[in-house]
Assembly symmetry: C2
Homo-oligomer: 542 residues x 2
């Protein structure tokens, strides 16, 4: 059952991180593929076991989701109508989509009538949909004022001592496919995004030993290309803001892990943040629309600094942001949805995400308390039981009575066993509960984006509901009313595709994390039972 793998690139283990150093050309055995975060556990020929970035080895991990329902979608695709929708920015000019993007300060009809053509509107008022507004933390303040500092800091990477032979190849990367995102209808599950055949993957690793916030580095794999680029946390933040601005109305873009570093837990904190950054990147890579976008491709594949700067400026000037993103989705050939159905779907998603948010938070609360108990009072108690047994054993040893040794040896061993159990109990949460908590934390973040996304849809529905009145008062034409209905329908398709993406990822993620959790729990209890069985065998009543 052992899976062998060929090492593609040298990798030097970070001390204390359970990593394994490997050399190009070496053959290793994969011992655990479900580590997650872009890592696998492997054993080298000397029997040493440790973590290796999965894209440093030849064997492809095949049990990761190739996009949402990728295989299934392809399986069904030939029996259903396929619809290509254009996501390009070219159809942005003079677009009546701007009706869904009015300023909160003005009345509806005024805005509708006075709407200027295209340009900056979408960008500047993407959060002006009635009562909903973006409340994400760490909101991007715009690039202007910080541009100089940004580039200054960016240049620091040159002196980070991380230049060994990792450039040069893949110079001619094309940021292809930025125009290719589309939705297609799959019978059972409704609209889904179109997924690429091969999925983007990305490993976030910190190459600088003892570094603080500096030197975060992403090893990027895109199809067959595998080359490293350096990014600092600030650059991830920049990417997050671009994605939020551009896709936030249609796609939940979860916040980045917390930026702050506090005193004495610094090292652990940095490790945790890297892990979460990895999870965030993996989630973005998994999303076909996000992964395929020009800004994301730039972030992963920029050729050199000139390439990066050019792309960065272009991305910051992108006007297809806010609700304008829906203007790039044209559901050719899809039947328009009735407003009632649009509304029902929206309500259903709203109820579900709210309920799941509550459920996830509940699990996080109890998980957090369990974590505290498992790392605090519980192991202390096992340790005290262990000490009490050993203490009694040493009292017995002092009896001077013949035939004492068998009992005292056994009691000392039993006491030590409970001390070992104490340690196991204290260390266990990091091996199982941690991943359950991290997955739920990630979902908490994702679910926190839905109220905004759904809010955009609810506001659009309200506008369409007012359309009859507007027609009656000659504020809009009947044709415009029909157009509004069509657009609400398109938005609903997009939301359904996004929900289906969410559901299929969720089913995969929870299956995976529960498997990991229970597997580790079984190991934990079995190891304890085995240790106690051994301790038991040392007692005798002849």
């Amino acid at each position: 059952m052992a899976t062998k793998a060929q090492v593609l690139y040298d990798f030097t283990a970070e001390p204390g991180n359970n990593e394994l150093s490997v050399r190009e050309g070496e053959t290793i055995t994969i011992t655990n593929q479900s580590i997650g975060g872009g890592w696998i556990e492997a054993q080298n020929s000397r029997g040493e076991i440790g973590l290796v970035p999965e894209d440093y080895v030849e064997v492809r991990i095949t049990d990761r989701p190739k996009g949402t329902l990728g295989h299934k979608a392809r399986h069904y695709s030939h029996t259903y109508t396929q619809l290509r929708v254009c996501l390009c920015v070219c159809c942005n000019g003079n677009d009546p989509w701007a009706v869904f993007d009015n300023n909160a300060s003005g009345g509806f009809s005024n805005n509708w009538a006075a709407q200027p053509e295209g340009t900056e509107t979408g960008k500047n008022s993407s959060n002006a949909w009635g009562s909903t507004s973006y409340g994400h933390p760490q909101a991007y303040q715009g690039p202007g004022a910080e541009d100089d500092e940004w580039d200054d800091e960016w240049d620091e990477r040159k002196s980070s001592g991380y230049t060994e032979g990792e450039t040069g190849e893949g110079g001619a990367i094309t940021r292809g496919g930025a125009h290719g995102s589309s939705m297609k209808i799959i019978g059972e599950v409704g609209p889904v995004w179109e997924y690429p055949d091969s999925q983007l993957d990305c490993v976030v690793a910190d190459p600088k030993k003892g570094s603080k916030m500096y030197g975060l580095k992403s090893y990027i794999e895109y199809q067959t290309t595998n080359r490293p680029v350096n990014h600092r946390y600030k650059h991830f933040d920049w990417l997050y803001e671009r994605l939020l601005e551009k896709f936030g109305s249609a796609i939940p873009i979860p916040s980045l892990p917390d930026k702050q570093v506090t005193g004495r837990f610094e090292e652990e904190f940095i490790k945790m943040r890297m892990e979460r950054l990895q999870a965030w990147m993996t989630r973005m890579c998994r999303h076909p629309v996000v992964a395929n976008s020009e800004v994301f491709q730039l972030f992963l594949n920029y050729k050199d600094e000139k390439d990066w700067k050019t792309g960065k400026r272009k991305a910051e000037k992108d006007e297809t942001v806010g609700v304008m993103i829906f203007s790039t989705i044209e559901p050719e050939g899809l039947p328009d949805l009735e407003l009632l159905e649009v509304e029902q779907k929206c309500e259903q998603f709203s109820r579900f995400t709210k309920a799941m948010d509550d459920g996830v938070k509940d699990l996080l609360t109890v998980g957090h308390e369990h974590w505290k108990r498992c790392t605090g009072p519980l192991p202390k108690e096992y340790q005290r039981i262990g000490k009490a047994l050993q203490n009694l054993s040493s009292v017995f040893t002092s009896s001077g009575y013949e035939g004492e040794a068998t009992l005292t040896d056994a009691m000392t061993a039993a006491g030590k066993t409970y001390e070992e159990i104490a340690q196991m109990v204290a260390e266990q949460p990091k091996k199982d509960l941690h991943f359950l908590m991290e997955t739920n934390n990630e979902y908490k973040g994702l679910l926190g984006c839905f109220p905004d996304t759904i809010g955009v849809h609810k506001a659009a529905i309200e506008k369409v509901k007012e359309a009859d009145k507007l027609v009656a008062t000659n504020k809009i034409t009947t044709t415009e009313k029909v157009t509004m209905g069509k657009r609400a329908s398109t938005m609903s398709y997009a939301l359904q595709a996004e929900m289906n993406h969410f559901h299929s990822n969720r089913i995969y993620d929870y299956n995976r994390v529960m498997q990991l959790y229970l597997e580790q729990q079984v190991k934990f209890y079995e190891t304890i039972a085995e240790k106690l069985r051994h301790a038991h065998s040392q007692f005798t009543t002849m």
Copy 2:
């Protein structure tokens, strides 16, 4: 490996007590011999499993201690001098042992000189050894004033409805061996009491369903005789006082379990007290000197009420009490011990019992806290984890997404598993920690008696130390001084025999209870691992 046993007497199970009804002549399979408290776990031909009094079945439990080092003692006995010492009351009259039994109020020499012959002295001042005194709770107030009430209550047993065919046999029981207690020297372990070939056993059971304090009943087995006698708690208390008075200077007589019954935990309390009464009786039965005494034999084997009343009055008039008990131990042929050795032994035992007392109390403290955690917050937490998983599962069910069922079924099952684990955790202490706690509680009680017992010895040593001065001042003769030394030597032999009895019982008891504890702990963790393994198998990432 199954041990079969023949049922000797009908036994009707007490509902809710995990007992198994059996009929005379039935063959059952013993499934657990290490239940303790005079019970075994057995399975009948219909597959039903439950507890049965072990002396109701034919197969003898062979792994219980046949007295302290019984086999070993017999093995070595032919190579060492055997010494028989008389324990009878006949040599009590005009005995100079009274020197070790002076009133605390008088000076040493006065008492020594003025000591009246024999009579009540020993009985009335057994706690007058200098600074030490008996501080046992529930001290017996003397039978005089209560005698009428006593007998009234005693007579209640006639109306307890428990007379079916349990009298009649064994009417001609002889209370043999009351004069036969002795010590013999075994090379490696020093002086030990002489142990009978077959050990006394006794089952304490409560035959009255729903009874409160009434109707405690002891099923008594002595050698081949097996007949029930009824005793109320008060009678146990009477026995305890007799034993304490008679043997307390030489042998630790642990207090009876607490008498009080408090409101709502009444039933559980009664069960616990019965269990402790059983443990107390078993310990007394195990002690060769106690078990062989006339008063103990009376308690177990009285023929009828007349027999009991006569015996009771005789026991209450027994004058061989307090330090006078040492006068009945005459170590024929044993070399007198030097005072230094006597003192060293006494110090050693004092240190050991003090250290063990601390160790036992420490274990009880941590055990008590662990009990609270295992029956309180910990299972509540597992239950909450279980509920959180099930709750999340039912949210998922509401998604309306195709292919949800596999995950939700698995998550519900995992949630239920954690609820089961919660229950297991809460119920586990009764299956293992309980016995560890009870054994340590028993030892706490035993160890609490040692300061008094050791105090008697220390006071005797001090008297002997003063002897030279007394001779110099002509308070005693040289012959008397030699006699005092001999007596201290005898007391030391008795203490050593008692310590060796204590050690060998302790080694057996701790081996046994640790085996039971660890066995149940292994089962517990294995069952959890098995349940989680099953829960794990239901998740799938295909």
